[in-house]
């Protein structure tokens, strides 16, 4: 059963702001799925639709096998919203207990799990202190703990590492790894590209209310790998010309680098031989692929060059602090 399988999700806010323009995506059990996009792309709107906080204008698909919006299904979903505000008068343990009860978890089960979850996120010593006195990072940790109180099959995290220090981020990554290992689906909404690249099995890039790319990072970068040979001295135009004729595919020169777009290491060998035969010392050979940031920027640039309608509207909406 697919954790999330939606298609054609649209949301038009009052005032005709077209926040989502037909979103299709799938999230599978046992994977960490990263949704990324610039501010105003519609990421939070999509998450809120899945969590029934916002009503979609149009939506077909399922979450944990039931139609999106089916309330009882949320019993098996854990959710941490962006900019969440836990009641400041509750302690960390009470927050977990309260939201566990709201998710239908029995008192006995809540009692048994609360301390374990606080321990999992490194907040045991703060369990009985009021959330009002917590730092942002501590609130995030407790927030993640409360998403797990109902033993969810799907965990939806909106900007989970927002305001968290590097140690905290590492701990959260550890929690996500654990959830994945336990076979749960984790849906992470973030604009921190490096963060998502580290933890996600699959990602979707969303711009202006549409998913433009979706897949594993390997799938998204397929056919886009490069080999870069760095030499100790500049390469002459003759050497470059010879190299191009030997490999028969794109070779570019940049200062003391020769860059070749190829997936196959064997195809690079003739160029290495050529450089060595010319008596030029090779300092380094790198195999590179576009980073998530490269893919992201490329997608955003493509979208902007297409002049996607609604861009200005969505940006204006974001400035007002709305999703």
């Amino acid at each position: 059963m697919t954790a999330i399988d939606i298609s054609g999700v649209e949301k038009i806010y009052k005032g005709k702001v077209h926040a989502l323009r037909g979103v299709d995506l799938q999230v599978h059990p046992g994977e960490v799925f990263g949704l990324l996009g610039p501010n105003g792309a519609g990421k939070s709107t999509l998450v809120k639709i899945l969590m029934t906080v916002i009503r979609p204008t149009k939506c077909s698909g399922t979450m944990l096998g039931r139609p999106v919006g089916h309330k009882p299904t949320l019993r098996k979903v854990g959710y941490l919203p962006e900019h969440h505000q836990f009641p400041s008068y509750l302690t960390g343990a009470q927050v977990i207990d309260f939201f566990g009860a709201m998710s239908g978890v029995s008192r006995r089960e809540r009692r048994a799990k609360t301390s374990k979850l606080l321990d999992l996120v490194g907040m045991s010593s703060w369990a009985n202190k009021r959330v009002g006195g917590y730092s942002k990072g501590m609130r995030q940790r407790v927030g993640i703990a409360q998403t797990l109180i109902n033993d969810p099959e799907l965990v939806v995290l909106d900007e989970p590492t927002d305001g968290v220090d590097p140690t905290g981020r590492r701990d959260i990554r550890g929690v996500l790894d654990r959830l994945r290992a336990e076979g749960r689906a984790v849906f992470v909404n973030s604009h921190l590209l490096s963060e998502l690249e580290t933890i996600s099995d699959r990602v979707a890039i969303m711009v202006q209310g549409k998913v433009h790319r979706q897949g594993t990072i390997d799938e998204l970068t397929a056919g886009r790998r490069q080999y870069r040979i760095t030499t100790c001295e500049p390469i002459t135009p003759d050497t470059l010309r010879d190299a191009k004729s030997r490999v028969g595919f794109g070779v570019e020169q940049s200062a003391q680098h020769i860059i070749m777009e190829s997936e196959d290491p064997a195809s690079v060998q003739p160029v290495i031989d050529l450089i060595r035969s010319k008596g030029i010392a090779i300092e380094q050979i790198d195999r590179k692929r576009p980073s998530l940031e490269d893919l992201f920027m490329e997608t955003v640039d493509q979208d902007e060059s297409r002049g996607a309608p609604g861009a200005a509207q969505n940006t204006a909406r974001t400035k007002k602090g709305r999703p």
Partner: protein, 370 residues
């Protein structure tokens, strides 16, 4: 049930964390002690603290007046002024932020993403708000009831009706606050709006009661004056030589009747119009009257009469005994008309208003995006 329990416990924790909750509780306790534990009834009259007793026949220990005095303070001061106005405003202030905080971005997401239908969530939250009033009223009224019982050996079980009746008053007001909170998501707007509506309702009820009282008093007076005219005409008809004094008196009554009838004709349509308007608003003022009726507490002037005040002191010199008696009787009929209303209609129509408003608020809460 699990969700309701969790919501109520959460509200209780919220209230406990609020300074105002403890302030209101302390003031209520202080009020109960000040009103019912600072004096005693002696064979001479009433004694405040350690001072010499104030001699008063009606307020001697064991006299019915002492019982009425305690009931008058309980109903007129403790319930009407403190719990009905002071504590009610403080309760509104204390709970005004519950709904807007609940609806705030980042907070509402956490609740809406649970397996609970939105209307249920809203109703549970509203019930949580009522918890404030319930706790405060139970402690304050219970304490006053116990102090009165233990100190004076006067037990008024019906006085405990103050708890549900004042809770009802809080329901009338908090439903307006909840509705405005859903519309505006602002604590200030919902609080000020509620107080404004309350003030308007107070004005409507005040005007309606005044008109009802005056209409009933005038109707009574007109009827008495008609009877006096008939009687005077019979006297004149039966007499061979009617005295000029009787004729003048009859003319005077006719002139008064005409004047009263004119006023009555002027205010009667307004009285019935205001009565109809009153039917559609929550009648906060009626609840204390219902309670006064139930515990048979002295109402208005009765309390001051008990302390020895004399209505005759207010009598103008130009009015003779008969006219003064007619006016007194008409006044009593007017007061009676205000007191005699149907509790079921008052509470039923007020609750209908609340249910309508809460229904609208629930609908709005359920339909909007957050």
């Amino acid at each position: 049930m699990r969700v309701l329990t969790a919501t109520l416990i959460d509200t209780l924790r919220y209230l406990r964390s609020r300074f105002m909750f403890w302030i209101v509780l302390a003031l209520s306790a202080l009020g109960a002690v000040a009103l019912f534990a600072t004096y005693s009834f002696t064979p001479e009259g009433i004694r405040f603290l350690w001072f010499n007793p104030i001699e008063n026949e009606a307020l001697r220990a064991g006299e019915p007046g002492s019982r009425l005095f305690v009931l008058g303070l309980f109903n007129g001061t403790f319930l009407k002024i403190w719990l009905g106005w002071g504590a009610m405003i403080l309760a509104l202030v204390s709970t005004a932020s519950i709904m807007p905080d609940f609806l705030r971005g980042g907070s509402i997401d956490l609740s809406l993403s649970r397996p609970i239908r939105r209307p249920v969530l809203f109703v549970y939250k509203y019930i949580g708000i009522l918890l404030f009033a319930l706790i405060q009223l139970t402690i304050a009224v219970g304490l006053a009831y116990l102090i009165i019982g233990i100190r004076f050996d006067m037990w008024f079980p019906k006085a405990l009706l103050a708890i549900p009746l004042l809770l009802l008053q809080f329901v009338y007001l908090s439903c307006i606050a909840a509705f405005l909170a859903v519309l505006t998501r602002s604590t200030i707007a919902s609080l000020l709006g509620t107080i404004l509506v309350w003030f308007v309702v107070f004005l409507i009820q005040f005007a309606s009661n005044s008109l009802t009282e005056n209409t009933a008093a005038l109707e009574s007076l007109v009827q008495t004056q008609r009877q006096r005219i008939e009687k005077g005409e019979r006297i004149i008809a039966d007499a061979d030589q009617p005295s000029q004094r009787v004729i003048d008196r009859l003319e005077g009554i006719r002139a008064e009747l005409e004047s009263n009838q004119r006023v009555l004709d002027g205010i009667s349509p307004w009285e019935s119009k205001l009565r109809r308007v009153e039917l559609f608003v929550p009648k906060t003022g009626d609840l204390q009257k219902i309670l006064a009726r139930e515990v048979e507490a002295p109402v208005g002037g009765q309390f001051f009469e008990l302390l020895g005040a004399n209505n005759d002191d207010m009598r103008p010199a130009s009015i003779d005994d008969e006219q003064w008696a007619d006016m007194q009787n008409a006044g009593k009929d007017g007061s009676k008309a205000v007191r005699e209303f149907s509790a079921a209609v008052s509470i039923g129509s007020s609750l209908a208003f609340c249910l309508g408003l809460l229904g609208l608020a629930t609908w709005r809460f359920s339909r909007r995006d957050y």
